[in-house]
Symmetry: D2
Subunit: 379 residues, 4 copies
Amino acid sequence: MRIGMVGHAFMGAAHSQAWRTVNRVYDLPRQARMAVVAGRDETRVAAAAARLGWDGHTTDWRTLISRDDIDLIDICTPGDSHAEIAIAALEAGKHVLCEKPLANTIDEARRMADAAAVATGRSMCGFNYRRVPAAGLMRQMVAGGRIGEIRHIRAAYLQDWIADPAAPMVWRLDKEKAGSGALGDIGAHIIDLTQYVTGQLISGVSALTETFVKQRPVTTGGFAQVTVDDAALFLARLDGGAIATYEATRFATGRRNALRVEINGSRGSLAFDFERMNELEFYDATAASTQQGFTRILVTEPDHPYLAGWWPPGHGLGYEHAFTHQARDLIEAIATGGDIAPSFADALQVQLVLDAVLRSADDSSAWTSVTHQPVLSGR
Amino acid sequence: MRIGMVGHAFMGAAHSQAWRTVNRVYDLPRQARMAVVAGRDETRVAAAAARLGWDGHTTDWRTLISRDDIDLIDICTPGDSHAEIAIAALEAGKHVLCEKPLANTIDEARRMADAAAVATGRSMCGFNYRRVPAAGLMRQMVAGGRIGEIRHIRAAYLQDWIADPAAPMVWRLDKEKAGSGALGDIGAHIIDLTQYVTGQLISGVSALTETFVKQRPVTTGGFAQVTVDDAALFLARLDGGAIATYEATRFATGRRNALRVEINGSRGSLAFDFERMNELEFYDATAASTQQGFTRILVTEPDHPYLAGWWPPGHGLGYEHAFTHQARDLIEAIATGGDIAPSFADALQVQLVLDAVLRSADDSSAWTSVTHQPVLSGR
Amino acid sequence: MRIGMVGHAFMGAAHSQAWRTVNRVYDLPRQARMAVVAGRDETRVAAAAARLGWDGHTTDWRTLISRDDIDLIDICTPGDSHAEIAIAALEAGKHVLCEKPLANTIDEARRMADAAAVATGRSMCGFNYRRVPAAGLMRQMVAGGRIGEIRHIRAAYLQDWIADPAAPMVWRLDKEKAGSGALGDIGAHIIDLTQYVTGQLISGVSALTETFVKQRPVTTGGFAQVTVDDAALFLARLDGGAIATYEATRFATGRRNALRVEINGSRGSLAFDFERMNELEFYDATAASTQQGFTRILVTEPDHPYLAGWWPPGHGLGYEHAFTHQARDLIEAIATGGDIAPSFADALQVQLVLDAVLRSADDSSAWTSVTHQPVLSGR
Amino acid sequence: MRIGMVGHAFMGAAHSQAWRTVNRVYDLPRQARMAVVAGRDETRVAAAAARLGWDGHTTDWRTLISRDDIDLIDICTPGDSHAEIAIAALEAGKHVLCEKPLANTIDEARRMADAAAVATGRSMCGFNYRRVPAAGLMRQMVAGGRIGEIRHIRAAYLQDWIADPAAPMVWRLDKEKAGSGALGDIGAHIIDLTQYVTGQLISGVSALTETFVKQRPVTTGGFAQVTVDDAALFLARLDGGAIATYEATRFATGRRNALRVEINGSRGSLAFDFERMNELEFYDATAASTQQGFTRILVTEPDHPYLAGWWPPGHGLGYEHAFTHQARDLIEAIATGGDIAPSFADALQVQLVLDAVLRSADDSSAWTSVTHQPVLSGR
């Protein structure tokens, strides 16, 4: 299976490592071939091809689509170009892997989902955190009834890379390119992950967004307006009866990449923090009363999700292999015709949540003021 | 200083241990004397007096107020009787320590704050968690600028003692007695604690409450309606610019008494979990880049708040001594005329937040629905 | 039961808090009365009596023994006076609680055990850490077969209070007063605790001791020789087949009071660290393979050892209550005639281990040199 | 640089992933080419070549040495064949990377070090854990004086893969193949790592070894004698004045791959556990007294060792990349002529420690018995 990848920054590097590794770990019906990488700048894309190990490169992503020998288009660009590339690729009969968020607008996302629904090629949205083994184990345990009926979800994706007001303007802070800020970039991950793990969909929200630093220095001089949220917080109800808090922020000083999910059910609880990605905490309320507690499961056993091909127990995996596992699932589904998740339709559903969050945050009637008591002397 | 205590259940036992201990640890200008405990049932209050070490007992709390030899009334009853007892005590010139929440209604709380403002006796509301040494250290560090300008507060008080639907009806689940459920009982603690630590007041909220189990078995037979919230979640803005998530629940399976606060500022962060009450985590964003991380401070050093009188470093304190420290501060303030916090006015301010949360939770316009995408086949 | 306590420093304060508290938490057949405290200096012992809440004081411990109204002698002095006081008390028919280590020499310890064996009064040695609820739970779980046959013990008692060479000379660093250094002071605790928890006795050792700082400043001027070990390390075999590492040190920078025990068995493991004294980690090798891991048990449930009388789950206990629980067990055993552990004979057994450790550390034939390879250029 | 690898089991797979990845992450003067893999069984080595991504394969490792187009021989076989292959390769002018332990006997190891000293090719022994970024940071911090003079080392390598007596016989339990058991396999790692991090060499030891399960089922039927240690414990002194405990075991139930090192110095401490390989704990005794504690450094910053080429902060690495970093250092040293560590001479020094440990464990005079006190009635 010959891959054409568009974009070669952070996501491009991660996807490259996944394509390079996947057949070395898993016995799959098809071999991934790293055929061509596309980028806008000839010098930079050539260097990226050499560095990341692609056979060729191009400055025009359309050539990937017109070439008959490319089977799959892997879209690693900012969100504003997803719809155009993905729809063109699907219409040309290619398989498509598209990074999240699916698109910057509901309209684009819907057109992509529509195109996917009628295409001959298969499509997947790249919510990679689903493929962390501990996330897969969470889903298995929820589905297996280990925590019973779900009451609470506590989801946060905490980063701090722009907590310093001196951090420069980048495309991720520009609404035109990125659609939204922390919300779409990392909030989308916890929306997808919690819906995936619990099997419930968010049915309503109440939200708040904030931009703490309104202007950022531009590396080429001057200042630019930050047009996206630095942080987004929302309460939610899910259609299975759970209630939830969600928080996505780039201002959680000291939290580098803390994607955290805790789920409390009637028979137990699960807790995960990506900063310790090889661990899952499980509380079993049915255990003997003197022996209850959160169990730190080291998710490195051969019978844990995705682990059969890897190292012996206790020899943990790194960030990149959520992408390796994603590549495995995609290759298998393409080869066998099996279901793909998250589909573009699943990703559109995430987009609808993002949209509701932004609308709620803009709605002042959703807010209740607190009266301040005049301060009396401290008797 | 002779104490008269009203109520002798959980809070009465904790307060008793504090009064018994405080002069043994601290050199104070006055000695606490455990004079009389009041309770409704003669047999039970007599047994409690013997067990908890009070010199005498009574079945009528009014006798405590009429006796000249009682200096301080310590109110450990459910919230519905706080106003009557406290106002009577203040009018009689007694000092008053009143358990939280201050009252079950805004009106009662306001009358109590008004009474306190004109009384000759001193008054304090028992938000004991302020007196955990780690909480005091948090406040010192925030005030000292160690974490800079505050952006995020993440507060949760997680319990699970009624997660089992078979747990019986108790007064804490009855709105008449308790005013509200998780919100007033434990949500009040995190509202007070975060306002105390940050020096900021909550200015607005958006909230959600839920009662997962609507009916509970009564120990004497039959079922009773649960009339309070099992869980309350809210987003908040504080008047210093911070944004926050708050969660109070009795359904966080496996979390026994996890009062958690994390605060992210421009120069650092602080994180606390009462299940590890002798620890405080501090992130210093000004440290050398290769050496940054959350520092687990064992809050047991002699120069930590309240610690000078206690054991050597590393020999941790237990739950009860937040009350011992509260007793110390109250005795000192009474003897020296110093400021008291939290005053009844401070506690009224917490009450105003609780009220706004309940009003917001009842306001359907605060909610934004999410459209559900028809499920397509997973292409 | 009227108590006469000898010594009023750190241990005296801890024991006082225990005697004051024990009948407030537990329903016991006898009431502890804090009758008299003895100390050498009139001014200081009078102040201690007032501060710690004793009815009277004396500068001569022998008066405690001659008084008919004293039932129990509680010995909180340095080890060099234990034998004299304890034997006199036992001969006078008193009950005796003696702090650990039982004595500074084998000979003294043996005479104490002999006196205890024929006395009418009861006797206990104060290895308080046995009475931490998590330690009691460990013993229950080992005895209940939850970890199977024991293979490994990993015990360390890590402190750092003299890691700074400028820390002054104190009696604990003087062999005449203290007998040994880290070994007898804190090493004795982990020897007792591991033997208690596993039910196995140490049968042989190979040891090493070190004094890092040979001289210390005296607070009244000049320097004094440190005549005890700063750290003691030893390997051991136990009579049930387990092998073990033990380490006691006052130079583990950053570890304030980290008494740690890990035990690995054929069916599971247990791990404890006193710096988190309300927690016990348990690994169950018989659990489902995907769900195995160390479970952090919060040892605060009513059915955990000693917990029935205390606070609700999740409201942890502090250091001092190991002494409260010790007082409970002693009062119950005296009242009911039940077995007492650790008896003076048990404590003598610990002493025999301490002695073997010191002999092994002095035996140069126990050491094997490592040849150093001449350094070659790093080809 | 064309690689010929001998052996294709666990270590072969890990080395393959490293050779495949190293030039994708780092800009290096030479490109690693995965030329040929050698193995004894034609079918299995052919499958391994396909699976692991080698261009060719052979059943005779000598062909790798005779081929002019192979630059580096990577030895991933059991220890009994290391000397023959490595010496042949060095004599043929090849560069050599040899897995640890360097050899099964001192004599072999010495001959290898001698061969390396006069060879034109470069040589390195594969103590991969040195290349975990946190280990590199430990060494930097020790060298930079951040923890001062070292007093204590606490090293353990805890596994549990044969804790079950039913686990079958494998070559690692056969002295002929493996040389020793836990000692040489994993004990060697902590010896090397602690010497590397501290810059001190072990000068003497006192040791104990144990084989808990003497016979193991053979997969083809019957039982075989286990001829190596299941666990090895030793005390050590280092030439810079530190004292240490070392423990290597395959019977630490629940500890899958817990390589742990804690170092206490006069100015601070460091603690590492490979089960959380992206973290390092650092205690700074020079920090303000109220803010001291162990700092959990997430070792994922661009200025941490080896991290510059990797993912953004907080996106952790996995086990395999210690090998990627090893490959990087080796390629750079070969290209630039820089120093290589650990050299074969360094690895011989580790071997000399292993030898002293085994001799000490066999020396009964190193052991001191403990007298058992006859059990008296528990008075």
